[in-house]
Symmetry: D2
Subunit: 501 residues, 4 copies
Amino acid sequence: MRHLIADPVVHRPHWREPEDDQLRLECGVVGVWSTDGDEASSVAALGLHALQHRGQEACGIASVKDQRFHTERHQGLVGEAFGGPDLPERLPGSAAIGHTRYSTAGGSFLRNIQPMFADLDQGGIAIAHNGNLTNFKYLHSQLVGEGAIFQSTSDSEVILHLIARSRKAKIVDRFIDAVSRIEGGYALVCLTRTKMIGARDPLGIRPLVLGRLGDTWVLASETCALDTIGATFERDVEHGEIIVIDHEGLRSIKPFPARAARPCLFEYVYFSRPDSIVNGRSVYEVRKAMGRGLAREHAVEADVVVPVPDSGVPAALGYAQESGIPYEMGIIRSHYLGRTFIQPSQGARQKGVRMKHSPNKAVLQGKRVVLIDDSIVRGTTSVKLVRAVRAAGATEVHLRSASPQILFPDFYGIDMPERSQLMAATHTMEQMRETLEVDSLGFLSIDGLYGAMGVGARDNAHPQFTDHYFTGDYPTRLLDREIEEGGRDVTQRQLSLLVSA
Amino acid sequence: MRHLIADPVVHRPHWREPEDDQLRLECGVVGVWSTDGDEASSVAALGLHALQHRGQEACGIASVKDQRFHTERHQGLVGEAFGGPDLPERLPGSAAIGHTRYSTAGGSFLRNIQPMFADLDQGGIAIAHNGNLTNFKYLHSQLVGEGAIFQSTSDSEVILHLIARSRKAKIVDRFIDAVSRIEGGYALVCLTRTKMIGARDPLGIRPLVLGRLGDTWVLASETCALDTIGATFERDVEHGEIIVIDHEGLRSIKPFPARAARPCLFEYVYFSRPDSIVNGRSVYEVRKAMGRGLAREHAVEADVVVPVPDSGVPAALGYAQESGIPYEMGIIRSHYLGRTFIQPSQGARQKGVRMKHSPNKAVLQGKRVVLIDDSIVRGTTSVKLVRAVRAAGATEVHLRSASPQILFPDFYGIDMPERSQLMAATHTMEQMRETLEVDSLGFLSIDGLYGAMGVGARDNAHPQFTDHYFTGDYPTRLLDREIEEGGRDVTQRQLSLLVSA
Amino acid sequence: MRHLIADPVVHRPHWREPEDDQLRLECGVVGVWSTDGDEASSVAALGLHALQHRGQEACGIASVKDQRFHTERHQGLVGEAFGGPDLPERLPGSAAIGHTRYSTAGGSFLRNIQPMFADLDQGGIAIAHNGNLTNFKYLHSQLVGEGAIFQSTSDSEVILHLIARSRKAKIVDRFIDAVSRIEGGYALVCLTRTKMIGARDPLGIRPLVLGRLGDTWVLASETCALDTIGATFERDVEHGEIIVIDHEGLRSIKPFPARAARPCLFEYVYFSRPDSIVNGRSVYEVRKAMGRGLAREHAVEADVVVPVPDSGVPAALGYAQESGIPYEMGIIRSHYLGRTFIQPSQGARQKGVRMKHSPNKAVLQGKRVVLIDDSIVRGTTSVKLVRAVRAAGATEVHLRSASPQILFPDFYGIDMPERSQLMAATHTMEQMRETLEVDSLGFLSIDGLYGAMGVGARDNAHPQFTDHYFTGDYPTRLLDREIEEGGRDVTQRQLSLLVSA
Amino acid sequence: MRHLIADPVVHRPHWREPEDDQLRLECGVVGVWSTDGDEASSVAALGLHALQHRGQEACGIASVKDQRFHTERHQGLVGEAFGGPDLPERLPGSAAIGHTRYSTAGGSFLRNIQPMFADLDQGGIAIAHNGNLTNFKYLHSQLVGEGAIFQSTSDSEVILHLIARSRKAKIVDRFIDAVSRIEGGYALVCLTRTKMIGARDPLGIRPLVLGRLGDTWVLASETCALDTIGATFERDVEHGEIIVIDHEGLRSIKPFPARAARPCLFEYVYFSRPDSIVNGRSVYEVRKAMGRGLAREHAVEADVVVPVPDSGVPAALGYAQESGIPYEMGIIRSHYLGRTFIQPSQGARQKGVRMKHSPNKAVLQGKRVVLIDDSIVRGTTSVKLVRAVRAAGATEVHLRSASPQILFPDFYGIDMPERSQLMAATHTMEQMRETLEVDSLGFLSIDGLYGAMGVGARDNAHPQFTDHYFTGDYPTRLLDREIEEGGRDVTQRQLSLLVSA
């Protein structure tokens, strides 16, 4: 990019610990549509609160009342921004959409907080987007060439410009025009003066569910938001489906050619909340099944099974139940996050991670420990944890990842490091074991993972899920990447890199 | 408008006292162009500081370094926002433009803080604008119909969209394309990756001057900004002139047909700082000449001449010198502005204005007072002052306005009330005298004002200045107004209203 | 009190959910003493970070360098206030003490943030205090009568005034003078220009441990702070012991007559972190033993054992291991706290609690559930959880409390509701079962709890622990209460109330 | 001092320009007493607003309602802190006192904001204080030795401790006890549960006036506060007088031996607002008389008389009227204060002062200028102004100070630099003229000043006014200074320094 726009706002400190190497999903979305009252924004706020595990650093809500839009976008937690009793006054109306997100690097963070809004000649439209477009740069460049002025660096704004420039008369047709031109993984919730629109990408990579609370329709990234709102789960929005809700009721449109769905496996491995039902499967049960599979694939003699909290808990329970080894809370997680602390120089080197995870000596001392994590990305957190577990007296540490080796970057909304930063992409198994300083190391196999999903094995001809981070098999074309790399096929290039690594 | 977008930012309290009925000019602009160093933003900040009498509620600076743009926009005073020593780091580069403004009503205030920025395909452009377009709504509606998305309600953004959509290849040609379509009064300062552009409307309604500080070129609304920066005054930017400054030096372009200039008289009456030289005339000396003319036109037997500080001071000095009546500071102005105070119910009714102006009993008691103000708008402040002067013991109060009666609204950047709120437009002279509770009342005549400007009398065929607020003679077409009123000629309609009033 | 002083500071929103009926311990303390360097405040900040489960709404650190004191006291989390790299500059010196606390009601909250400081004629003294004095009002009234001016409503300031008014020459003697006059439960950490002093009440009600990090001495409320700092655990400060640390080393003083210790049981039941070793016992292991005892005392046929996270997790693991019923995460806890959300009127009544706890349908549907909580206070949270668990499809809910019925208020630093608000004090067992809407209800017995502590049964003649909340057997005189109630013996009065309830 | 306590609060930027070498008076006070209603704090806020020229960096109000005290203390302007309509709710009651102050250096600024409050055994007392005690350190040291704990470094707190420790039964007697022990210059306003007390030092160094608004009594530092409130001026509080106001009415107590008053001359020279009547004299008229005397003592041939605004305006008018030389606004003062701007390196050296004062070229070019300032302290501002006036084209600059040479520091509440920083104390007249780069230089004589005060000449045996800054004749003993300097007489030492200078 050639420019940086930094609108200084009073920054609240960021809640992310920089040394943390967890993956991040960039967004959660919610939509609420009713025929009267001013509570849509309050319902949306409850939903966003439940979706903060998908992004907790900024949030926004747009509502519409009497054809006027009201928007607020904030840094910080949903409860801080939208928990107050004055919300129906600040954001009145019977329909509202909301968004919660992680920050991205750079000064444009504040401009990229969603929902985004455009004032079209037929009236305004607000949009909230979870996912990532794989032809964003291509479309952005085309639009700028036509004189469009962008106020953010967000791919959501590309969609707004496509809608604004559509020559169709009706807003729904303009929306269809726009989504027909975008590629990638996305779940969209839009609000016009009279309608709420929901849409999911043709492969259903990103999730979106439909719920109901009395006369109120609710769209949300996960069912846990419906539960918090008190809404009943109606059904998943289908892959490639557009849902339009207005005073005449709900209408379903399927503008794309019919294809099989390929939902993202990482929603099960890490992103979704354990109490959510994603594409008809309980995330908690899938994770326990992953742990059971892991126990079968990578058994070991040990005294205790210890999860890396909180994401490793269900897999560790599954591992313990399958193996018969007792499950214990050998690592305590602090919930008082904050900026990284300055490390007093007298102290040991690994103190950073202790701020979040503390070993529980009473459980670990003199024990052979099976340590269960959901996945291993860079490996930097894992090695700190392993050392802390050993320092607490563990005699053996056997590390188990409840998902396969992560080998390829993601382009559908997961904030994943470069390939060169992915431990499994740059180390052999034995190198990893040594680097992680463990007695043994095991990853769940691809088929083990598909088994935990309840589909038997992977159908390599027509894979049932999006799994490129493990396999390199990207479910869509990657236009921006191809242009950047001069037209070479990306997966091939990645695979050749892997071979040479 | 159909929507309201309120991006909540931490609001600093506004510095405007609501009961104040002074006119407001909406902006001051500055531009700084040099070939190296990172001090352009600091120089621009000094210039903005000196221009805050033109708008003190928000300010912004955009700089460019190595073809990257940096922008900050703040609510509050320039010293608060840009006085810090870290400015060259925050806004680096050898070129910068800045803007200071009054707030407008409504939630869109924050989005309208300038400079505004657009990322074109040839690179970014930032714009700072003082003035008002009389065909803003017309152009806005056209652009939205073509799919443009507006992020503000500012007419400056219209200019950006016109530039972005121009089919010309070079940025200067695109800029000329854009200004060829706008109408009204304006002084523009723009910054591209490699150039600074300044422009003034075809009649020179709004002022813009060119200065120099060593190798650095400076553009500013008034010469007082050059003085504060330490730059020498080179010349006025001419009416209808476009100035382009880059590494090849300064180039002047005159894309419009040649016409006589008609600068705005209110710059002399009220807006410009007394130490500025506007269009070659000292504002201080013009104001003193207005006071001398007023003494000749409206002499009275009295003991003291008292200005309404600070704007009435030079005219009062002129009146005193011409009349031989002693000049005294009979009203003390408080410089600790702030929100209006709650008025304790025991207190008298006129306490509001006392927060800003306090009568000086020692000067007023038992005296016949000539009270000099620069102009009379609604009359609400005047009547409070007159009462306060009488309460302090004045035996007679003779009110004199150093400018003619204000009868018509402005559309070129002055925040003027509706006609129905203008005292002189709705009262006869005797009604005004009674309402203002004064013993006598006098306004400088139009020819007295032209005389003070040093041009003899008004040339009614080709008026030398913009003076529609006194005469109804608007210097340009008022397209938005005409469309709104169904095509009727505005001045005619205004005049007919005047007759019936 | 006759007055309210509200010093308005920019308030950060409070992190407590008002509907939450958990008990609160009001403080954690830390002290760091070394001979050189400026890192004592950074080490103290790490320790405070680990103690925020004891109070997370405000924190403060005082350091001393070259005999000058530096203090900062903040609302909000430790990481926010003291996580920055500039801490050694802001709070320099080789010795520091710190404090973290819950807020108390009322406008005096900000003045009560610790450490508190007094400038004595021999030099300053700062104090951090965990606990509560039972003769605070008596001493406060005496001191005010003698002309002392209080700046807070904190009992810590009473100690400062007692030190300031002592006629002894040396600071340690003045400190002993002061603690000889106070009664109740307390752990104190003080800092003078040259010494750090630690003290624990004669019965050791509140905990305090001593650790070491190289040449640096550390005092802290719990061992988890030592672990986070990287210090080794040396020993508990003993009941009634005063520890003085200066450049000559560590000195132990025992000014009180020898008595048996009676540490507070609630440190094990709820307050201390599971990875802490309190008075020689692993909190995690004690809690698991409580769960095992509960399984023996209150067995039931069921399908799953579900903890109320996080405090019920170890007891639930113990219950599951003893009973053989599988342990499952049937309730998911949200870590994104915040203000209570406005409840949209369409929604159900029990939504409040769902913000923190979400039932995991996949685990609960069609199951007979044993729900394990650490204790039951008002019962308001419990009933919401029970309803949520049933709404998620549980066919039976058997509620088990890992501690006995809470019948009496605390006066030693636990923020406990009035007796009239304690469910067990106002309901029979069957009334409780009905109110809580459970199929069966069981509390761990007193002897079961003493058993989990590893001391067999309670020695009623000389009870081994402070347990008045269960038994009414207060370990000290309650002077303020006695004066307030006209001299009647409090326990007797409480017990008679209980009988009549 | 041995310690620094810095309670971090969100700091608003300071409004003082560091390069500014004006004197500062540290405070203004106000008191409002009525029998009912909740508007006392709003009336006090209006009064404080009018007193901000005496200190504008912090302000506070304490009110009492139903024997409960309410206090707020803020950094920043009165209008910001107390201008809101919710003030009667925030600070309810029919009696209130207020304080406005300049900041002092150091971290203790926030703790020193007044009013200060103490909770005595008969009820609370709040105090607001303008002035300075000359035996503060002596009393502070005594009180700390007796065990008093100070929360501020303010001498006002000494008075509170003296009241708290008095053995008298009634609050008024305790107050008399306390003021009997303090020395220096002071105006005090106190509030108890049922009374308002005002007091002025035995010589009346600092001013205090009594006013009335219906049934409401008002105390204030200056009459301009009464005018803003709308109250009538009743009389000055007399030197050494204590006024007690309660439901029985107003009572006057004179506990000190009768002496002649010696009010501070600097109230007339600089501090008081020109529209105030101080000790029966119009400040404006005194300043004009000073200007007339200056014209007689230091006449010069010149073209224009130019004031340094705003404080030099009345003296310049007097000089102009006496000399017949025209008065012109040759220097324009900016009212947009703020932090000092970073000075771009290209610019000239004297730019700092231009931020506040801008020369008006139209008035100065080619002119012989008499420049009138109220006083000359360090001379640093003066030399910048003289250079700016010359740079604007003045051919001669004749500097005139409307007060005598400042030779000695103040200990009664004026924030004056060290003697070594006072220009007149370290330079001969010719050295000053050269350093100030002026063609001629003149100071009003002591007798000229006394003449302007209307008392003929100075009575050297019994001087009518406090004038030590000009004469070295301190009106009271300076106990702290004497102790510090080992008992030597201060004035003597100062005079001997002067001789050697």
